[in-house]
């Protein structure tokens, strides 16, 4: 797959070779258990300490003990939500948003079945929150606010710093799912009122199977996993030492590449987006384009379906992802697109391009050249599209011309 172009970095990233190199000794010579008293263990213990400080630095956390290693972003999210409810038994309400990742939404749905109250903040057509609505919901029975730092599908950034301050003013805990933001935009937790933050290693060139829950010192906490004394008793289970070391290294590299991410990667993303929008009619970027991650572009191609686009792009060696129903295994198109009120005929044709520092100018040029014929080919097949006199366009008032009987 050497000539393949990987533009699905919000799904997962390639492990950086320097990360692999840092990890390898921890499978062989440094295989010890960090809890052991002998030399095999103490070497590992030192490495974990270093990794913890590397993560601390990337997050701008005040203390290294605020970093709890977990198995993934989902575990961090579940731990944060369940801890807030367990630690504050008088509170029964969680505030979140309609566009969260399933790691948050499905947990909240379960809590509702268990009798808790969940308020989901709505978004406007650009995916932005209404902070007045948010303010009106902050009351004494709220255990936790959980809002993502940046949206995985559109890259739209939420004002979590401001939201955390508003929550703190009412004495309410604030958690943010920052798996898409960490490593892409600067974060400085010690100057914020954020109490908990989730990150996932594999989104920033560390391996899969390692995550972090940041827990502000003094924030009431109840562990999800009880058992050994690992992570100061806040997350029992033998440390995944090789992956922790790898995540530490990845955080160090992310710090070094932060500027590149916001200049070079951003420029390539913009070039790609402008290149596609200028050549293809009836398509538009989704989300809040003026306030989003530097690596993400999500474009809705109207009147065609995302999986078909992905299959044809894949044939040409280009990897992206889609918010269409058919790629998810569910019948519904992306909840994020629906929340923004994007019509079905456009939501189904959304394609997310998410870049990384590994992408090149030549790759972007190739995508700009390859995508337009693919879109044209599929539109020819679409009943919503008409090819009048070679001038492509939606079939005279789509919906009027083509009105299927819906099951």
């Amino acid at each position: 797959m050497d000539s393949s172009i990987y533009l699905d970095n919000n799904a997962t990233t390639r492990v950086d070779p320097a990360v692999v190199e840092a990890m390898l000794p921890f499978f062989t010579e440094h295989f010890g258990n960090a809890s052991s008293i002998h030399a095999f263990g103490s070497e590992v213990g030192k490495a974990l300490k270093k990794a913890r400080s590397q993560v601390q630095e990337l997050l701008g956390a005040e203390h290294d003990s605020e970093i709890i290693f977990t198995s993934c972003g989902t575990e961090s999210d579940s731990t944060a939500i369940l801890s807030a409810l367990k630690a504050q038994p008088d509170c029964n309400t969680v505030i979140t948003t309609v566009v969260e990742h399933p790691a948050i939404l499905n947990q909240c749905e379960w809590l509702e079945k268990e009798g808790y109250i969940v308020h989901k903040l709505k978004v406007d057509k650009k995916g932005r929150l209404d902070l007045d609505e948010y303010r009106s919901l902050l009351h004494e029975r709220v255990a936790l606010v959980t809002a993502m730092w940046a949206n995985n599908e559109t890259g739209t950034i939420f004002p979590v710093i401001e939201m955390a301050e508003m929550a703190a003013a009412k004495g309410i805990m604030f958690h943010t799912d920052a798996v898409q933001a960490v490593g892409k935009i600067p974060i400085n937790l010690k100057s914020s009122k954020i109490d908990m933050l989730s990150l996932s290693g594999h989104k920033l060139h560390a391996p899969k199977g390692i995550g972090v829950l940041y827990l502000r010192r003094g924030c009431r906490f109840r562990p999800l996993l009880r058992g050994g004394h690992q992570e100061r008793g806040r997350r029992a289970g033998t440390e995944n030492s090789a992956s922790i070391v790898g995540l530490g290294k990845a955080c160090e590299l992310a710090m070094q590449h932060m500027e590149e991410e916001n200049t070079t990667v951003k420029r390539l993303r913009d070039k790609l987006e402008i290149g596609l929008l200028s050549q293809i009619s009836h398509c538009f970027p989704t989300g809040d384009v003026s306030n989003r991650l530097p690596n993400t572009s999500n474009i809705a191609f109207e009147y065609i379906e995302g999986e078909a686009i992905l299959l044809l792009m894949n044939k040409m060696g280009i990897a992206g992802s889609s918010g269409s129903a058919c790629t998810s295994g569910s019948l519904e198109p992306s909840h994020v697109m629906r929340a923004m009120g994007i019509p079905y005929t456009a939501a189904h044709g959304t394609i997310r391009f998410s870049l990384s520092r590994y992408n090149t100018e030549a790759e972007v040029d190739r995508v700009i050249a390859t995508a337009p014929p693919i879109i044209a080919q599929l539109r020819k097949l679409s009943p919503y599209w008409s090819d009048n006199q070679g001038l492509g366009g939606p079939a005279a008032k789509p919906g009027a011309a083509f009105t299927p009987t819906y099951a």
């Binding site: 078909a308 299959l311 129903a325 019948l331 519904e332 005929t345 009987t405 819906y406 099951a407």
Partner: protein, 298 residues
């Protein structure tokens, strides 16, 4: 990504008969509101013979929706309208060497477009009787609407019963939570306000049979057994299987499972379902066993 057959991939990358058909005299426009896919099927029918001379499609949908549409046009070309009306969604899926369970609704949409196009040609109004819900059982492609309908119609109370009636939950068992939720919902509606009871746990052993009625003669008994088999046969045939009575020895009823049923991972559940119906119909405790269990005669 999905595991698509080579045939699906081929029909997606090189769709047959795509685009408008100028002289079409039967057009079917259908869509699936849940997944958003939509399909226009255009037929050119020879009025004298009612033979479909040409068929074209336009599809807004995923790879398998486009492949299913392409396959459909190939299947119906040259058929009479009456023959075409017998084309099932399973025929379309079979033509493509199968579809992933999540994608079976694409073939359903194809069959509906065909019915709609023929109704359009005949000047009839086509109405859709098929409602589609979220996919619950991925092993056997059973959706929430179907489970709910079957639970309501047959007064079902347990996951095991749902499996007997629909096969849902008979494979990997990962969807049992989803089935229990549907059961709980229907049962609370059934119970009315104030007397909600949770669905009982899946019983480890079949429930005790009802007290036996007046004793049947062997001939009466075999007639009743055949009636039960006739009742379940259409369900099995839908999945390309069949069942036949092999022998009756006292309380043991031996059956041949044929076609796709033989060696199917659901064999035990199928027999369990048949056994349940036998016990209900005969009013006595019987065992339904595969013919392979018949004692070898000396």
């Amino acid at each position: 990504m999905w595991e698509y057959s080579d045939k699906v991939r081929e029909h997606f990358f090189n769709p047959r008969n795509s685009g408008p058909l100028e002289e079409a005299n039967g057009i079917g426009d259908v869509g699936s509101i849940q997944c958003g896919d939509a399909l226009r099927l255009m037929l050119r029918v020879e009025p004298e013979t009612e033979i479909i001379q040409d068929a074209h499609f336009q599809t807004f949908g995923c790879g398998s929706a486009i492949a299913s549409s392409s396959a459909l046009t190939e299947i119906v070309k040259g058929m009479t309208l009456d023959e075409a009306l017998k084309v099932s969604n399973q025929n379309i899926a079979d033509y493509l060497d199968g579809l992933p369970p999540e994608k079976m609704h694409c073939s359903v949409m194809g069959r509906e477009a065909l019915q709609a196009a023929i109704a359009n040609y005949r000047g009839e109004v086509w109405s859709d009787d098929h409602e589609e819900g979220a996919l619950i059982c991925k092993c056997f492609a059973v959706d929430a609407v179907m489970i709910e309908d079957v639970v309501k119609a047959n007064n079902l109370n347990t996951v095991q019963e749902v499996t007997f009636y629909t096969k849902a939950g008979g494979g990997c068992a990962a969807c049992h939570e989803g089935i229990e939720e549907i059961l709980a919902k229907v049962m609370s509606e059934r119970a009315g306000p104030g007397e909600v009871s949770p669905p009982p746990a899946c019983p480890a052993t079949p429930e005790a049979p009802r007290p036996p009625s007046a004793k049947l003669t062997l001939v009466q008994k075999i007639k009743k057994i055949e009636e039960v088999l006739d009742a379940v046969r259409p369900m099995l045939q839908r999945d390309h299987g069949d069942v036949e009575l092999a022998d009756v020895q006292g309380k043991k009823i031996y059956v041949h499972l044929k076609g796709a049923c033989s060696g199917c991972m659901m064999e035990a559940a199928t027999l369990g379902g048949i056994q349940q119906k036998m016990i209900e119909t005969l009013g006595e405790l019987v065992q339904v066993l595969p013919s392979s269990h018949m004692p070898v005669e000396a």
